[in-house]
Symmetry: C2
Subunit: 159 residues, 2 copies
DNA sequence: TTGATAGTTGTTACTTTATAACATATCAAC
DNA sequence: GTTGATATGTTATAAAGTAACAACTATCAA
């Protein structure tokens, strides 16, 4: 499995690669990867945990990149609408997507101790989700799966 | 599949049965099914759709059962913590549980047109969710699945 | 039946999260 | 360079949720 978030990894390249991937995608798709948007993504990439919009705004403010809520929310809207970030509804927070560019149904594993979030994927059209939907005649457009629990670092050691 | 919400059904018995089931559970478990809690559940049962806390509060107020936000939130907390209702994070709303008493991982099918919500179930320990979790060493405690789309009543007619 | 205790409700005040609306600036293509 | 679309700055406010404390009610043991 390819979830990132709980294992130690080269976090510097993780940030750099994330920014580069999005920059590339924006370039080829004529999207404006402006300073506010870039910085907002960078802030999210620095942590594999859900951050509040106002927390992000605080950091943007320090960089002189906007000081009012709409600035942060607009940057986040941009990132989310193009699949570069996700909202974690459960905690009203946001995280950078670890698989930008791919169309996917994210599954978030949220640690209730340390707030770390790992992202992995599901295939909603298969399995019981798709089955349940087709039996009721429901048309799936978007699915979110949020799992709360303990990450390996916070789980009690095995007996 | 046993999702309720999209098909037409005997809604009166649906409300009555829901109230009775919860009343029974509370009686045997020494929980206080007070007027506010009972009425809050009844309000939720009247609609198979997510309702906002303030919307519920408005109705409670009309009945003289509390007029300040904490009253509604406390009733909802009670209902949720005992599995009689669920929060739909996606829309900051609440619905009555259609399967009270059973321990379960709910899956919500949310219609973006009419706000109807159908509840069905998943078995997180099986399938990819459990696989993903065990591979990362994550301990699942609670999972929520929210699916956005169109219910059969709102979907465009088949060609 | 009284009194202790835990649980519930009423209320005030406040925090956190999010958005509407409009003015100004910048970009991108002709 | 003008124009139309897109992005930002800003004010003000809406919507969602909670902390804290006082007052009331149920429960149960002595």
């Amino acid at each position: 499995m390819d979830a990132i978030g709980f294992e130690t990894h080269d976090h510097h390249s993780c940030i750099r690669d994330g920014l580069e991937a999005v920059a590339g995608y924006c370039a080829t798709n004529r999207l404006q990867f402006t300073p506010v948007r870039r910085r907002a993504l960078e802030i999210l990439l620095q942590q594999h945990r859900a951050m509040g919009a106002y927390e992000i705004l605080d950091q943007l403010r320090e960089d002189g990149l906007g000081s009012q809520p709409p600035v942060a929310y607009r940057a986040l809207d941009f990132l989310i609408s193009h699949g570069f970030a996700h909202k974690i509804e459960r905690v009203n927070g946001f995280i950078a997507c670890t698989h930008p560019g791919h169309d996917h149904t994210p599954v978030f594993l949220i640690c209730r101790e340390c707030d770390a979030v790992a992202e992995t994927h599901a295939e909603p059209s298969r399995g019981m989700l798709g089955k349940a939907a087709s039996e009721t005649g429901f048309t799936i457009e978007q699915a979110v799966v949020e799992v709360l629990g303990l990450c390996p670092n916070c789980a009690p050691v095995a007996p």
